[in-house]
């Protein structure tokens, strides 16, 4: 059991009273092995939510729990794919992925096997000894994803993980993530600006308001995915053409647009 629970989470940066209220009462419960995507306007506090689950930040009030325990600090059980990759520039691709596994005490043979598996999966074969600065942004992002997957964490926290990828690679990664999460489901908190990506990947899509952020609405995708049999289509573009998909997309877009409208006013 490794669900995530936000209870009345408030986060104020700066001094209480004069500070900036970033999150104002976030309530969200993510079940064990559930895939939840968060969408919302830029600056609404999505990354902040994720950082609290990761253990890098704490709520000013309210609580963030994983597995019914208040998050105390970071752990390899809650792997993060950072918005800015955060690879170690002095380690090559192989060592970047290996580092967390060594810390965890994964035996050498298994370590090699797992790393080889994810290097292949992410299309990084042949780049094992390359340093991050020798890779394109998209490739660095794939290394960051491989590093998180290889940890085999119970909770996966992904902050716009496909943002730096080109359209084709992004699609490959999205389909791969779907495949992975069907084969080996785990609890995923996924932040994105892509409404389609959110619907395609997630069991539920949480929409946030503009700052101060709250969860405005939660769209339950999974029942529709199951009843409309989305998974029988291997390709994302086929799923995106389905009327049920288009309907959800329009709904979420409208909801987001209301937020943008208020922000611009």
């Amino acid at each position: 059991m490794s669900g995530i629970r936000f209870d009345a989470v408030r986060r104020i940066y700066g001094h209480e009273g004069r500070g900036i209220v970033t999150l104002d009462g976030v309530d969200l419960a993510i079940a064990d092995r559930e895939f939840v995507a968060i969408v919302g306007p830029s600056g609404c506090g999505k990354t902040t939510c994720l950082r609290m689950v990761a253990g890098f930040d704490r709520p000013t009030s309210g609580s963030v729990k994983v597995d019914d325990v208040v998050v105390g600090g970071p752990s390899p059980e809650r792997a993060v794919v950072f918005q800015q990759f955060a690879l170690f520039p002095w380690k090559n691709v192989f060592d970047n992925i290996a580092f967390g596994l060594r810390n965890k005490g994964v035996a050498e043979a298994e370590r090699r096997e797992r790393i080889a598996h994810y290097i292949k999966l992410m299309g990084l074969a042949g780049y094992e000894t390359a340093f991050p600065h020798q890779l394109s942004g998209g490739m660095q992002q794939r290394v960051a994803i491989a590093r998180a997957y290889a940890l085999d964490p119970v909770v996966l926290l992904m902050d716009e993980p496909f943002g730096a990828l080109d359209a084709q690679t992004r699609v490959v990664m999205q389909e791969e993530l779907v495949r992975l999460s069907r084969v080996n489901p785990r609890t995923v908190l996924f932040i994105t600006h892509g409404v389609e990506e959110a619907i395609y990947l997630a069991d539920r899509v949480a929409i946030m308001t503009r700052r101060p952020g709250r969860i405005k609405e939660i769209v339950n995708v999974k029942p529709i995915r199951t009843s409309e049999n989305w998974d029988q289509h291997a390709k994302i573009e086929d799923v995106m053409d389905l009327p049920s998909f288009v309907h959800l997309r329009t709904h979420i877009w409208k909801s987001l647009r209301e937020e943008k409208g208020v922000e611009g006013a």
Partner: protein, 256 residues
């Protein structure tokens, strides 16, 4: 050879020719004040073969090298760990930084009288002065190197469950390494500057000793010859450090 080094070589060559012409052909420069290439050549022959100021050239060179090496190595082996500690621990920083604020504005050469008072005119005093000169840049650059590590790097390390020891050896030190090397380079330069100054004040051997004696002897050829050797040693030790840096940091993106 690269285009850059060819241009560099051409510049140096042109300066040498100019030097030769102004001193030995036109006589524009009075060789009593600034030596001709010939004077330097004579001085070189004398000190290499017979010796000058208590010893032959290699004795002086080895003596100076030894002092620089000891002062520099002593300074960085204390300075770099101290910088790491200050960079990592707020408490260590709070404790040690005030000492630095006091020491830092004192020019290294201002330590010479105190060093001589404590340790006499021997090698120990010179090593101490070099130590003070090299220590400050070593500490400061290591410290800022650790301080400036990007937050996501530290967070990634924590997320990956890095144990304390590995956090220092596999994350903090490599991340700060480019800055540490900057510190080492400044420390080395400071070591040479300070060495020559300390030897000028009083020494039994060394390049500064040659300079000092040659000045009293009104011997410009020998003065310039010793200066050239200070430059050669400073340049080659800096070059060695640069090679070590390239070896140690294959992951740093080189500019240009």
């Amino acid at each position: 050879m690269s285009r850059r080094s060819l241009i560099g070589l051409a510049t140096v060559g042109a300066l040498l020719v100019l030097w030769y012409v102004l001193t030995m052909v036109t006589g524009t420069i009075n060789t009593g004040r600034f030596p001709s290439p010939d004077d330097v050549w004579v001085a070189a022959g004398q000190i290499v073969a017979k010796g000058y100021a208590n010893g032959r050239l290699h004795i002086h060179i080895l003596h100076s090298l030894k002092l620089v090496a000891m002062g520099f190595l002593f300074a960085i082996s204390v300075g770099v760990p101290l910088g790491l500690l200050m960079g990592w621990s707020r408490r260590a920083e709070a404790l040690i930084n005030p000492i630095f604020l006091v020491i830092r504005p004192i020019p290294p050469l201002a330590w010479i009288p105190l060093a001589i008072l404590w340790l006499g005119l021997g090698d120990a005093a010179k090593i101490m002065v070099i130590f003070f000169a090299a220590f400050v840049p070593a500490v400061i650059n290591t410290y800022t190197g650790v301080r400036n590590i990007a937050t996501p790097i530290i967070e990634a390390a924590r997320m990956l469950g890095t144990p304390r020891l590995a956090l220092v050896s596999e994350v903090l030190v490599p991340a700060a390494m480019p800055s540490i090397f900057t510190g080492l380079r400044l420390a080395l330069q400071a070591s040479w500057t300070t060495l020559v100054a300390a030897e000028l004040v009083g020494a039994v051997a060394g390049l500064g000793r040659i300079l000092n004696v040659a000045q009293q002897d009104l011997y410009p050829g020998m003065i310039l010859f010793a200066m050239i050797w200070v430059a050669i040693l400073g340049w080659s030790t800096t070059k060695l450090l640069a090679i070590a840096e390239q070896r140690a940091l294959p992951w740093v993106q080189v500019r240009g």
